[in-house]
C-alpha cells in the first residue's frame, strides 16, 4: 500500500463520516470554510513526506528504541511539514507501544494487536486521534456511580466478534479530519468498573460515531492579519459514540481495571513531551519576539524593558535546560522503547505554564495597544491608506510592513482566538498544573533528597555514635 498524497488524503475524508460545526452537517471537510485550512495543512503534510517507493512510510510511525533513534525520528520529521494530525498520530502510537509490554502481561493478544494496529496505520498512512477525555459528569463520582452511566465511554454490549461502546469524549483535536479514533480510559478504574476499562480503535466513519467541532480558525474573509491561525489551525471534536461496534482485533484493553491507567499515563507522558524537542527554541522565539517589539517601538535601551527581557532570558534558559535534562535522563521500557524522563518532562511543563502568564504580560507591555489595534494587511494595501500608514508606521530598522507583521503575529498567538486556545491548551494538554505537580512529586527522588538532608544535619544513619546531635558547620 503506497503512501497517500495530499489529494488522496482529502478524498479519503469523504467516507460518510458524521461531522457537524456551527449547527450544520459537514459533507466534505476539505471544502468547508472553517475546516478547509486544517485539511489543506494536513494535505501539505502528506505531500511533504510523500514517496512512491514501495515500503516507504512517514517517520511518525517509527517507534524509537534509543535516544539516537528518537533524535533520528525527530530529525526526519523536521524535514517535512508537521501539523496537529501528524502530531496526534505520533503521540498516540507511541503511547500505545509504550504501554504494549505491560498490557501484554495481562493478555499477550493486546500487545500483538497494538503492534499490528501500528503496522496497519503505517501501511495505509492513516492519521490517528488521541481520544481520551470523557465527559465525566460529576467529577468526584466514579464512572459507575454517575446519574448517567454513559458519562464515561463504556462497553454496553458484546458478542463473539467484538464489543459495543457508548459515551462521549471531549476536546479531541483534529478528530474530524483524521481517519482513526484511538480510545483510551481517561483515568484509573477499579473492580466493578470493568466495562469502563476499554481501549480500542474506531474508524471515524464507523456507524454510531458523531463529531461536533469547534475551531479557533479565523472567520474573516481576508485572514492575512492572522499570520499563524489563518494558515494553520485545527478543529476540536466533541466525539459521541452511540452503540459503536468495535471488532476484537481493534480492542487493546477490555475489562482489566488494573491497567486502565497504563495507557493514560503513557499518553500523558508523550503529550507532555511533545514540545520537548524544541522547548529551548520555542522559548527563545518568545524572547526574540519581545526583543523585536522593544526595538520596533524604540524602547530597546529602556532599563525597565531590559529588566523585563532579563526575566524572559532566564525563563528561556531554564526551558532549554529542562528539555535537555529530559533527554539525558531518558529511560527504556521493558520492550526496549525509549522514554524521556517523566520528572523533567512534567517539571518543564509546569514551569512553562506557570511562567506563561508573566511572559504574555511582558510581551503585551512592550508591544503596547498597537498589538490589538494595528490596521490589517487589507487596510495597509488600500490605496486611500497605504501611503499614510507607510509613513506613520515606519521606524529606523523596521518598515511599516515589518512592524505590522510583528504586531499581527504576537496578537494572533497571544491576544486573539488562537492565542486564547494556545493559552488554555498549553496549560491543560497532558493534565493541568495540579496533575503536573503530582507527577513531578511521584517521579522525584524524595528519599535521596531526605538522605542528603539527614547527612547535612548529621542525624539518622549519619549520626556518629557518641557525638552530640548538634554539630556546627
Amino acid at each position: 500500500m503506497p503512501m497517500m498524497t495530499g489529494a488522496q488524503y482529502k478524498e479519503s475524508l469523504k467516507d460518510g463520516r458524521l461531522t457537524y460545526i456551527d449547527g450544520d452537517q459537514v459533507s466534505d471537510p476539505a471544502n468547508h470554510p472553517l475546516l478547509k485550512t486544517a485539511v489543506d495543512v494536513a494535505a501539505r503534510v502528506y505531500d511533504s513526506f510523500y514517496s512512491a517507493d514501495a515500503g516507504a512510510s512517514n517517520p511518525a510511525y517509527i517507534i524509537p528504541r534509543s535516544i539516537d533513534e528518537y533524535r533520528d525520528r525527530a530529525h526526519r520529521l523536521s524535514q517535512g511539514v508537521t501539523d496537529m494530525t501528524l502530531g496526534t498520530t505520533g503521540v498516540t502510537l507511541l503511547a500505545l507501544t509504550s504501554a504494549a509490554a505491560k498490557l501484554g502481561e495481562v493478555n499477550p493478544a493486546y500487545s500483538d494487536r497494538i503492534y499490528a494496529y501500528v503496522e496497519y496505520c503505517k501501511k495505509h498512512d492513516l492519521r490517528c486521534a488521541e481520544v481520551i477525555t470523557d465527559s465525566k459528569g460529576h467529577r468526584k463520582k466514579r464512572p459507575n456511580k454517575q446519574s448517567d452511566p454513559d458519562f464515561y465511554v463504556h462497553v454496553v454490549d458484546r458478542n463473539a466478534d467484538g464489543v459495543f461502546i457508548t459515551g462521549a469524549k471531549m476536546h479531541i483535536s483534529a478528530s474530524s479530519i483524521e481517519h482513526e479514533l484511538v480510545i483510551m480510559p481517561t483515568k484509573a478504574m477499579y473492580p466493578g468498573e470493568e466495562d469502563y476499562a476499554i481501549a480500542c480503535a474506531v474508524p471515524v466513519n464507523a456507524r454510531g460515531v458523531s463529531i461536533i467541532d469547534m475551531t479557533y480558525a479565523p472567520r474573516a474573509e481576508d485572514t492575512r492579519h492572522y499570520p499563524v491561525s489563518g494558515k494553520v489551525n485545527c478543529p476540536e471534536g466533541f466525539v459521541v459514540f452511540d452503540n459503536v461496534f468495535v471488532p476484537n482485533e481493534r480492542v487493546f484493553l477490555d475489562g482489566e481495571t488494573a491497567h486502565a491507567a497504563t495507557l493514560a499515563h503513557s499518553l500523558g507522558l508523550w503529550e507532555r513531551a511533545a514540545g520537548l524537542g524544541d522547548a529551548g527554541e520555542s522559548a527563545d522565539r518568545e524572547v526574540g519576539m519581545a526583543a523585536l517589539l522593544a526595538e520596533a517601538n524604540g524602547m530597546a535601551e529602556d532599563p525597565r524593558i531590559r529588566d523585563q527581557l532579563a526575566s524572559l532570558v532566564v525563563y528561556a534558559t531554564m526551558c532549554r535546560a529542562a528539555g535537555e535534562a529530559a533527554m539525558v535522563n531518558a529511560t527504556k521500557t521493558e520492550d526496549g522503547n525509549m522514554l524521556p524522563s517523566p520528572l523533567f518532562v512534567s517539571a518543564l511543563k509546569y514551569f512553562k505554564s506557570e511562567f506563561r502568564a508573566r511572559l504574555l504580560d511582558i510581551q503585551h507591555d512592550v508591544a503596547g495597544d498597537l498589538l490589538v489595534n494595528a490596521p490589517t494587511v487589507g487596510d495597509f494595501e488600500h490605496p486611500d491608506l497605504h501611503a499614510a500608514l507607510g509613513e506613520a508606521f515606519e521606524v529606523p530598522g523596521f518598515t511599516a510592513e515589518d512592524r505590522l507583521r510583528l504586531f499581527h503575529y504576537v496578537r494572533d498567538t497571544t491576544a486573539d482566538a488562537y492565542g486564547g486556545w494556545a493559552f488554555v491548551t498549553g496549560q491543560l494538554a497532558g493534565g493541568g498544573q495540579h496533575a503536573q505537580r503530582i507527577v513531578t512529586m511521584r517521579q522525584y527522588n524524595m528519599e535521596h533528597a531526605k538522605k542528603i538532608a539527614r547527612r547535612a544535619v548529621g542525624i539518622g544513619e549519619f549520626r556518629k555514635s557518641g557525638e552530640e546531635n548538634w554539630k556546627p558547620l
Partner: protein, 472 residues
C-alpha cells in the same frame, strides 16, 4: 438643549465619514454587521437616558460634586456604553479652563463653548491622545497655521469609537519639547472632516450565528487608527496651539474617568472571574476538592484586594479646585497595577478549574441542531440540577471574555489604560501620599527627638546614636 434617541443618534453619524474595516471602505457604520454592534450599544444608552423634558441631559455631562454623586457617576459609567467614559473625560477638561484662560483667553472661551455644545446637543466624544507613530510622520502636528484655523497632519492610534462618535478631541499624548511646538495642538475635529480617515479594528464576532459569543456580540468597541491628511480645523475648535509648557497637562485630566472606569471594572471583573470559577467548580462537582479550593481561595483574595483598592479610591476621593469629586488617583493606579499583574494567573486558575470545554464546547447552533442536541444535552450535563445548556452557557462566557478574540483585546486594552503594568505601578508611587508615610517612618525612627545624652555617648562612644524601634 435636545437629547437624542437611539435612532436619532444612528441618523446623526450617517454623515459621509471615511471609515474602513478590514481593508474595505464602509459607507454606513450603522448597517455594517460588525460596527453595528457598537452603534447598537451606544443607541441603547441613548434610549435608556432619553428624556424630552426641557433641560434634561445625560449624566455623562455632569461632574460629580459629592461622594454620593461620585458613586452614581461610577455606576452610570459601569452600565453605559464605552463612550460615556471618554465623553465624561472630555467634560472634565473644564477643570483646566482657568489655566487655559491664563495662557490665552480665547482658548478658554472656545473649549467652554465646545463642551457646552456637546452637552446641549447630546454628542459623544472620543479622546484622540496617543500618536500613531514614533517618527514625526506618525505624530499629529500643525503643518499650516492660517488666520481662520490650522491644518493638521499625522495619525492618532487607539481612538476608541472614533468611527461612531460625533467629535474627536485631540490632545498631545504628553509634554512636548520646545523644538516640537507644532505637536502641542489640542482641538476638536468632526469625524467627517475632509482628510480624516478612520481605520477600525473590532472584536465583534465574525460568526454569522454569534450566540456563543455572549459578551462580544453586544459589547464590542471599534478601536480606531485615525489618519489626519491635511485636515483643516477652524480656529474656534483650536484649544491649544504651540504652548509647549502646557502640552502635558491635558492628557492626565482627559483620562480620569477612563482610568476610574477601568479600575472599577477591575473590581467587577475580578468578582465575575471568581463567580464563574465557583459556578463551574460546582457544576463540575469539584468545588470541595482541596486543590480546587486552593485556586478558588487565590481568586477570592485577588477579588477582595481589587475591590478594596477601588473602595479606597472612592473613600479617599478628592475634590478639585472647581469642586469636582474624583477618585483617589494613587488607589486607582494601584488597583489597576495589582489587578492587572495577577490577571493572567487568575485566568489560568479559572481555566484549570473549568477544563478544556472552555475552548471546545460546541456552539449554540449545534445545541439547536436536532441531530446533535440530544448528545450535547446528555453529555454536557453533569448531575441532577445541572443542565447541559446551563453548563454550555458558562463555558461560552468564560471563553468569550478570557480565551478568544474579545478576551485578548480586552486584556491588552485594559492593561494599557494608565500606560501598561510598569507605568501603572510607577504612577501609583508618584500619586501616593508619600509625605504621610515618610512622616510615619520618621516618627517611629524618632528622627525628630533629641539624640542620646552626651554623658552616655561619652561612656560608650562606639554605639550608634539610634537604635531600631521594636517591631510593631
Amino acid at each position: 438643549m435636545v437629547m437624542l434617541t437611539g435612532d436619532q443618534y444612528r441618523a446623526s453619524i450617517r454623515d459621509g465619514r471615511a471609515i474602513y474595516l478590514a481593508g474595505q471602505r464602509v459607507d454606513d457604520a450603522t448597517t455594517n454587521r460588525l460596527l453595528a454592534v457598537s452603534v447598537d450599544w451606544i443607541a441603547r444608552t441613548y434610549d435608556q437616558y432619553h428624556s424630552s423634558v426641557s433641560g434634561a441631559r445625560n449624566p455623562m455631562f455632569t461632574s460629580p460634586r459629592s461622594s454620593a454623586d461620585l458613586a452614581n457617576q461610577m455606576e452610570f459609567l459601569a452600565t453605559a456604553d464605552f463612550t460615556a467614559a471618554t465623553t465624561a473625560g472630555c467634560m472634565a477638561l473644564r477643570e483646566l479652563l482657568p489655566e487655559l484662560g491664563a495662557i490665552r483667553g480665547e482658548y478658554k472661551t472656545r473649549l467652554a463653548t465646545f463642551l457646552d455644545r456637546c452637552a446641549a446637543d447630546d454628542l459623544r466624544v472620543a479622546a484622540a491622545v496617543e500618536d500613531g507613530g514614533i517618527a514625526i510622520a506618525g505624530k499629529v502636528r500643525v503643518v499650516e497655521t492660517r488666520a481662520d484655523g490650522v491644518v493638521l497632519r499625522g495619525a492618532k492610534r487607539h481612538v476608541l469609537g472614533a468611527s461612531v462618535v460625533h467629535e474627536l478631541l485631540l490632545v498631545p499624548a504628553g509634554a512636548v519639547d520646545a523644538q516640537h511646538a507644532d505637536q502641542a495642538i489640542a482641538c476638536a475635529v468632526q469625524p467627517n472632516s475632509p482628510g480624516v480617515k478612520i481605520i477600525n479594528i473590532t472584536s465583534a464576532p465574525e460568526a454569522e450565528d454569534d450566540r456563543h459569543y455572549p459578551v462580544s456580540r453586544e459589547f464590542s468597541v471599534p478601536d480606531c487608527y485615525v489618519l489626519f491628511e491635511n485636515v483643516f480645523v477652524p480656529i474656534e475648535r483650536v484649544f491649544l496651539n504651540g504652548e509647549t509648557d502646557f502640552s502635558g497637562a491635558l492628557v492626565d485630566t482627559l483620562g480620569i474617568w477612563e482610568r476610574a472606569r477601568s479600575a472599577a471594572e477591575m473590581a467587577e471583573r475580578a468578582e465575575l472571574v471568581l463567580g464563574l470559577a465557583q459556578t463551574i467548580a460546582e457544576m463540575n462537582g469539584v468545588d470541595k476538592i482541596e486543590h480546587i479550593r486552593n485556586k478558588l481561595s487565590m481568586i477570592a483574595v485577588w477579588a477582595s484586594m481589587c475591590r478594596a483598592g477601588w473602595d479606597r479610591a472612592l473613600a479617599n476621593a478628592t475634590t478639585t479646585p472647581s469642586g469636582t469629586v474624583r477618585p483617589d488617583e494613587s488607589a486607582v493606579y494601584a488597583t489597576k497595577a495589582y489587578g492587572g499583574e495577577r490577571y493572567n494567573d487568575m485566568l489560568s486558575y479559572l481555566h484549570d478549574i473549568s477544563g478544556a470545554l472552555v475552548l471546545t464546547v460546541p456552539a449554540t447552533a449545534d445545541y439547536d441542531n436536532q441531530a446533535t442536541h440530544k448528545y450535547m444535552e446528555k453529555y454536557l450535563r453533569t448531575m441532577n440540577g445541572v443542565t447541559g445548556e446551563a453548563r454550555m452557557k458558562i463555558f461560552h462566557l468564560i471563553r468569550d471574555i478570557s480565551a478568544d478574540q474579545y478576551g485578548g483585546w480586552k486584556k491588552v486594552t485594559e492593561q494599557m489604560i494608565g500606560g501598561g503594568l510598569i507605568a501603572q505601578r510607577m504612577n501609583a508611587l508618584d500619586h501616593y501620599p508619600i509625605a504621610n508615610v515618610k512622616a510615619k517612618a520618621r516618627q517611629i525612627a524618632k528622627l525628630d527627638e533629641r539624640s542620646t545624652a552626651p554623658a552616655a555617648r561619652a561612656t560608650s562612644p562606639q554605639l550608634p546614636s539610634h537604635r531600631e524601634p521594636p517591631i510593631r
